[in-house]
C-alpha cells in the first residue's frame, strides 16, 4: 500500500511518456471512465518571507489537472505544465488504485519511478556536497 500523497508526487515528477504508456495499459481494466475535468490553469505560489514571516505570492505556475470517476472511485491529478494527457493518465492511475484495481502493477511502476528519482536526487546531493566551501579569513 502506497500513500496517495507519495504516489501522486512521484507520478507528477515522472517522465510523462512513461506515465502515459503505463496508464494506457491500465485502461482495458477500467470501465465506465467518466472524465469530470481535464484542463489547464494556474496555481498561486505563496512563499513565506523569511525576515518578517509574512506570506506573499512569488508567482504563479501553469498546471494541468484531471478529475475522473471510475465505478464510483474518484481520481485526481495535477502536474506542472500543460500536458493534459499526463494529468489524465495520473488521475486514471489514482482512480484505479483507489478502486483497488491493478494495485500491484501500480505499486511496481511507482516504486521504479521513485527509485529513479531518488537516484537522481542522490546524485544531485553529491554534486552539491562537493561544492561545499570553507571560507578562511586572514
Amino acid at each position: 500500500m502506497i500513500e496517495q500523497s507519495s504516489y501522486l508526487s512521484i507520478l507528477a515528477r515522472a517522465p510523462a511518456v512513461d506515465v502515459k504508456s503505463f496508464a494506457e495499459a491500465l485502461i482495458p481494466m477500467l470501465d465506465d471512465i467518466e472524465v469530470l475535468q481535464n484542463r489547464t490553469g494556474l496555481v498561486m505560489l505563496p512563499m513565506r518571507d523569511t525576515v518578517r514571516g509574512e506570506l506573499f505570492y512569488a508567482g504563479e505556475a501553469l498546471l494541468a489537472e484531471a478529475h475522473v470517476r471510475i465505478r464510483g472511485a474518484e481520481g485526481y491529478a495535477a502536474c506542472l505544465g500543460r500536458d493534459l494527457q499526463q494529468a489524465l493518465a495520473i488521475a486514471l492511475i489514482d482512480a484505479a488504485y483507489t478502486a483497488s484495481t491493478a494495485r500491484s502493477d501500480i505499486e511496481a511502476f511507482v516504486a521504479a519511478q521513485a527509485a529513479a528519482q531518488a537516484e537522481a536526487d542522490a546524485a544531485l546531493c553529491l554534486a552539491v556536497a562537493r561544492t561545499r566551501v570553507q571560507m578562511e579569513t586572514f
Binding site: 500513500e3 496517495q4 500523497s5 507519495s6 501522486l8 508526487s9 507528477a12 515528477r13 484542463r39 489547464t40 490553469g41 494556474l42 496555481v43 498561486m44 505560489l45 505563496p46 512563499m47 513565506r48 518571507d49 523569511t50 525576515v51 518578517r52 514571516g53 509574512e54 506570506l55 506573499f56 505570492y57 512569488a58 508567482g59 504563479e60 505556475a61 501553469l62 498546471l63 489537472e65 478529475h67 474518484e74 485526481y76 495535477a78 502536474c79 506542472l80 505544465g81 500543460r82 536526487d121 546524485a123 544531485l124 546531493c125 553529491l126 554534486a127 552539491v128 556536497a129 562537493r130 561544492t131 561545499r132 566551501v133 570553507q134 571560507m135 578562511e136 579569513t137
Partner: protein, 376 residues
Amino acid sequence: MYVAAKGGERAIQQAEQLFRELNGTFDATFVRLIERHMPYLIDRVMGEGSLYAPELAALALAQTGGDLYEAVLLLRAYRSTQPRLAYAEPLDEAHTFTVRRISAAFKDIPGGQYLGPTLDYSHRLLHLDVLDGRDSAPASPDGATGDPIDKTGAADLPFDPHPPALTDWHRRYGLLAPLPDLPPHDPASVPDVTRDPIHFPAPRAHRLQSLARADTGGVLALGYASMRGYGMIHPTVNEVRLGYADVRLRHPVSGALFSAGRVRVCQGEVVTPAGSGSDAHPSTNGAAPPAALNPGFTATIGWNEVKVIAGAMLDLEMEAANAHPAHREEFVLYHTEAVEASGFCIHFKLPHYVTFNSSLDAIRRAYAAVQQAEPQ
C-alpha cells in the same frame, strides 16, 4: 487625447513577414533547445512574466526573436487567459531542494555554505575553441575545460538539501527581532497585486510580490543607485539560496497533500546593523533597536541572483523614513513593473499625429500672439 487611426494593414502583414525572414523561423525542436540550454534566460522571462512555465517561456523567446520585454508580455498575456485553479501550500525551506546557499555575512553557518551551480569564481573568458569545433565541457579548477563532474564516491561531509532558514539561527541569538505572532496562514487570502490595486504604504505581500515579478534591469538600476551611495544603507548579503521547491496541493477528494512538481526558486536576504544609515529603522520608532540587524528580503520564481540581491536592498531602503526619492516604495514598485514600463515606452512609437499637431498649433498661436504684441 488619443485618436484612433486606421490603415496600413498590408504594411503590417509585410512587416511581420519581414521580421520572420530576417530573424529566422522556429519550430518545436528550436523551442526545446532554448528551454534546455538557456535556463537562466527562461527564468528571467518566467520571473518577470510571473508565470512558471518553462516551455511557454522558451516559446515566447523563440517567437519574439529573443526580445525580453515582448516575451514577458506574451507570457503575461497567456496567463490572463488561464483560470486560477488552486493555491499551493507556502513554498518553504523544508520542501525545497536547495542546491546553492551562500552567506557573505557569516562564514560558518549551520548546514554549511555550498556554491552549487555557479560561474561566480570562473574565468570570464570566451571559449573560442568551441567555435572551432571542440565540445563545451565543465570547467576544471584551473579554468580550462576538463573532465566532467565526478558523480561517484562520497562527499567529504553529508549534505542536507533542506537547510533551515539562516534567519531562524539569527533569531536564536538575538540578532534579529522575533517574528510576530501571525495568524494561521491562508494561502488564498494573501493580498494579490494581480487582483487589487496597490495603495501606499503597500501591504508587505504587495511589495514582495511586486519585487518578485519586477523588471530585473529596473530593480538592478535602483538597487545599484543605493549601492553607489544614493541610498541610506550599506548592507551585507546574509543569504542567497537557490533550489527546487515542491508545489504542494491538496487532493480535492481525500485532502492528501501531494507535489505537482518542482519549480526553481531563489531568495536573497541582506542585513545591515540596526540604526545604521542616516536614520533609524522605522520599526524602532527612534527608540533602542530591538535587535542587532535590520533585514531585507526578495524572492522570485526562477534563479535570478542579481534581482533578489538588489531587491532585498531596495526592501531595506523602502523601510527608511527619509529614503532617497528613487528608493521610496511608490517610486520603486511603480517604475520596476516590466510590462507597464516597457508598454508605456513603446506606445510612444504609435501615431500621435493629432496630439502632436495640437501642440504645434498651440505653439504657433503663441508665437503669432507674441509677434502681434511686439511693437512694430
